[in-house]
């Protein structure tokens, strides 16, 4: 049968009619519209029973309580949201950008998933996966060799903290092994502790009763930008809005300055002089606290002489650029307030700063008698729940411990300083003392956070054996030989003693919220395993089977309460009364003044570098050992980061030679970078401000290779008294690119 055209068309028409009479077109349209609305590659989050776990966030030293929402699903519990814990003494429900982004760190691509051993050259990024047994055996073998050769002191350990059981285990291990070189990451905590030690004679953490003070005089502290415990400070700031005043002394209109009741623009680096100028007015007009000054302090007369002779409002005005009348009115309102409080430490407080400045500011607190008082500054004793038996060192260990510290802390030059990490790169590079043969890094990212990145990297290259305990592939881990990844904070137990700046001792307990996602191990357990492998005195110093057992035993009867409430607070704590509060030789508060209150000279020649480069901190950018997660980076303004370029701020008065958003070359004696320029009227002419927390080379594509790390452009400046880094900026120049 021949198929004619008509037949063919008829077939088609018949087919069309039949199709129209069938459900096919309608159904297909319906289904394909559903398909296009819900592409198979759009994830469908699985629903399930919801539960909550209370824990503590340890992404910064703030110690906030968190409540993590979880949902039970086929693949086990998924953590889906981190929220602030209601009723927690630090943050009471509030939470910051970094804390909220914690789950991106837990589930993110930057995690180190298993122990890794370097396969290529340092920093090349080629790794070999090894088992935990191999990893620990490797470390123990290396340490054993060094110990045998009597070089145990050439092992150093950089730790993010020196409080809590994990840090204590680490320190204990180093001690029985025979190395004095346990080094904590520097911060204003160092300067504050030293200040209280020198002026009050006590070793304690410094607490600020910000909730109760009604007049806060801040010398450049980023009160609402991450200084102290960030969420707590922001909460306090809201209280001050209702009953209190804040004066911010800073050369840039930071958020703190913007929110303060008064912003005093000051020449950078002259804060100490202003503090003494204020002291001058207070003393001159007898506005000081008579009882405290007369009965509980010593050295006041000497202090008075210096202040009256050298820091008259006019002289100080000359130095600081703050008018004499402003100085006088500041002094009067400060001394006249019922609960005044003076604080210092620039920005988030990552740079320890000048000790003289800290002592000058602390002297102001003493003058108004707010030491250990409500609304004032108090010495908060370190929680003493870690009561382990004294370690018994063998001879090798004792010998090692007798060698001086590599960083010079506790030496004749800096007898009272405990840690001087900023001096470590130089000490290693100059080789003046002894070489470092092995370096351990835990809870820290020194390659990123220590000033003068070039020198830090050089120092790392000189250390033949670097071990990182980082959970993330950060800059330090990238430059290590061995990575023994720790659980992240949502997977592990950890005690968190009194957060920085809190005025009462508390202990928080960080709890595993989900089970470990990868083949990681708790740092505490790793230390115990290492100690066991050594045997002898070293093993004896660690009589616990696991970290959890150690923690439970250490916390004793506090454990149950901690598990249930998430924190333990000493409700009976009162700061020591003036009578007997001071442990100085005189038994009183000492108006010590070590050396002159000269401003710290920053690096660079004024002729070659006409401008001053200063960093600024933001709540939206993590600049510590944790890199900013994607959510945080997303909140960063385009006046700080544009594409892959960092944006620096200058005042239009400094120069009009740039296009807004245009490129420029920023150079300092330490290095240079291509930047974009943003004109900002809130910054003092002559200053270039650069955001901290960018310029990571490690981490994921959401963070890496964006902008430049400020630490590449600056080097440390040694404080003449403490040896701590007091660099508040560096000279710079900016030319059109």
């Amino acid at each position: 049968m021949k198929v004619c055209r008509r037949s063919f068309l008829s077939l088609i028409i018949g087919g069309a009619a039949g199709t129209a009479l069938s459900p096919l077109p309608l159904k297909l349209m319906d289904d394909s519209s559903i398909w296009t609305q819900m592409w198979p590659w759009t994830p469908v989050p699985e629903d399930g029973e919801v539960s909550h776990v209370d824990s503590i966030c340890t992404l910064c030293p703030g110690g906030c309580g968190i409540t993590v929402r979880k949902v039970r699903s086929m693949i086990g519990d998924r953590a889906i949201k981190i929220e602030g814990m209601k009723g927690h003494p630090v943050n009471d429900g509030g939470i910051c950008v970094l804390g909220l982004s914690g789950l991106q760190l837990l589930y993110g691509p930057t995690r180190v998933k298993t122990p890794l051993k370097r396969a290529g050259a340092r920093g090349e990024g080629r790794w070999e996966k090894i088992s935990w047994d191999e990893a620990i055996a490797e470390v123990v073998k290396k340490l054993g060799e060094l110990r045998e050769k009597g070089k145990s002191h050439t092992v150093a350990c950089i730790s993010g903290t020196d409080s809590g059981t994990t840090a204590h285990l680490l320190g204990r291990f180093l001690t029985v092994y025979g190395s004095p070189n346990f080094i904590r990451i520097p911060s204003i905590q160092d300067s504050y502790e030293l200040t209280t030690y020198l002026m009050q004679g006590v070793q304690a953490s410094v607490g600020f009763d910000v909730e109760n003070s009604d007049f806060v005089l801040s010398f450049g502290s980023g009160l609402i930008e991450g200084w102290g415990s960030p969420v707590r400070m922001i909460k306090a700031n809201s209280m001050w809005k209702e009953r209190g005043k804040v004066v911010q002394i800073e050369s840039r209109l930071s958020n703190t300055a913007a929110k303060a009741d008064k912003w005093v623009a000051i020449n950078p680096g002259t804060e100490a002089a202003l503090a003494l100028g204020i002291a001058n007015v207070i003393i001159q007009e007898s506005l000081y606290h008579n009882d405290f000054v007369n009965n509980y302090s010593s050295g006041f007369e000497e202090f008075k002489q210096i202040v009256l002779n050298e820091f008259s409002p006019d002289d100080v005005s000359e130095i600081t650029g703050v008018s004499a009348s402003t100085i006088e009115s500041l002094a009067k309102s400060f001394a006249g307030a019922s609960k005044p409080l003076a604080v210092c430490g620039r920005g988030q407080g990552e740079t320890p700063g000048s000790l003289n400045e800290f002592m000058a500011v602390h002297a102001l607190n003493a003058l108004v008698g707010n030491i250990n008082k409500k609304g004032g500054v108090c010495a908060v004793p370190y929680p003493d729940y870690i009561k382990w038996p004294e370690v018994e060192m063998d001879r090798t260990a004792a010998n090692g411990m007798h060698k001086g510290r590599i960083d010079g802390a506790g030496s004749k030059k800096y007898p009272d300083t405990r840690y001087l990490l900023d001096r470590l790169p130089d000490a290693i590079n100059s080789g003046e003392k002894y070489p470092i043969e092995a370096l351990f890094v835990a809870g820290a990212n020194p390659v990123y956070t220590i000033p003068d990145t070039k020198a830090v990297k050089e120092a790392f290259n000189r250390v033949p054996f670097v071990v990182s305990f980082s959970s993330y592939m950060d800059e330090t881990a990238e430059n290590a030989d061995l990575i023994l990844p720790n659980h992240v904070f949502l997977e592990r137990y950890e005690d968190v003693p009194t957060p920085v700046g809190l005025q009462k001792p508390i202990i928080g307990l960080s709890k595993p919220v989900v089970k470990p996602q990868f083949n990681t191990k708790h740092l505490g357990d790793v230390i115990l395993l290492m100690a066991k492998s050594f045997g002898g005195r070293i093993a004896e110093a660690f009589p616990w089977d696991s970290y959890e057992a150690c923690l439970k035993k250490t916390l004793g009867n506090k454990w149950d309460g901690l598990v249930n409430n998430g924190f333990w607070a000493d409700s009976n704590f009162r700061p020591a009364a003036w009578e007997g509060a001071f442990n100085t030789p005189s038994g009183k508060f000492e108006f010590v003044n070590k050396g002159r209150a000269e401003s710290i000279k920053i690096e660079g020649d004024e002729q070659a570098y006409p401008l001053i480069l200063m960093p600024y901190d933001s709540m939206r950018l993590a600049s510590g050992f944790i890199g900013a997660p994607p959510f945080a980076i997303k909140t960063v303004e385009d006046t700080a980061l544009k594409g892959k370029d960092i944006v620096v701020e200058i005042n239009p008065k400094t120069t009009r030679g740039f296009v807004e958003g245009g490129y420029a070359i920023l150079s300092t004696p330490k290095g240079q970078a291509k930047v974009r320029v943003h004109y900002f009227d809130g910054i003092m002419p002559g200053i270039v401000a650069i955001p901290r927390g960018l310029g990571h080379t490690a981490y994921d594509e959401y963070l890496a290779d964006k902008g430049i790390n400020f630490n590449e452009l600056i080097g440390p400046v040694e404080d003449p008294v403490s040896g701590l880094n007091a660099a508040w900026g560096i000279r710079a120049k900016l030319i059109r690119a």
Partner: protein, 254 residues
Amino acid sequence: MSTLDDKSEETVEQVETTKSTGKEQKNGSWGIVLIFFVIGLVGSLAVGWWIFPKLLYSQKKQPIDFNHVIHVAAVEEGCESCHFFREDGSFSGVPKLAQCVDCHEEVMGEDPNEAKFVEEYVAKGNEVPWLVYSRQPDCVFFSHAVHVKMGKVDCVTCHGHIGESTHSRVYEENRLTGYSRDIWGKNIAGLKKNTWDRMKMDDCAECHAENKAVPKIVETLPWPISWMPRPYEKPASSQIKVHIEKDACFVCHK
């Protein structure tokens, strides 16, 4: 194209050579044309009604053949014994392993399905990957609480007599959308007899219109156009009354 051209040439030839019997031929060719029409019609109807559904849906077996009857008999509170409300107001849906383990820690009966369940899931602690017949797309928010607790709607109204089943029926998955056939309904034409036959948006709307569960009423166009994107303004009169008011999208969507 070439085949078409060939055909037309042939036709021209035919016309030329058979001039004398033209009329007869014409009638005959119309017959053939008709036959082709019927072939096309029947063929496409067969494809649309019979082959298409077979192609559209894949057949999947539940991991464990579940007997509802036995379970309902063994528990005290009917459906809610296993499918209950949690304290936070959410509905538990298909029970998790932990719940099953309450009874099935060890094998209790002789059913090989139970043995398999205990061996493969309870012993290993793995959740059973049940295929949920009533799983709605991700954009749907359905509150069991308001329907069951406030509206006093029976389970059967939407889920049918699943509680009386002794075996798990085959799960048919739409290859295009990935959802169960139960959403569109067993009937490929989308016709339904019972309230539980279909679970599309209009089925929700239909029930709401009848029960006037929500006071405000707005009209939608009748099926089959009703599921298409359309403005909800009030037009002509011939329309089904449905509760879904213009402002209510977020009630059932997320």
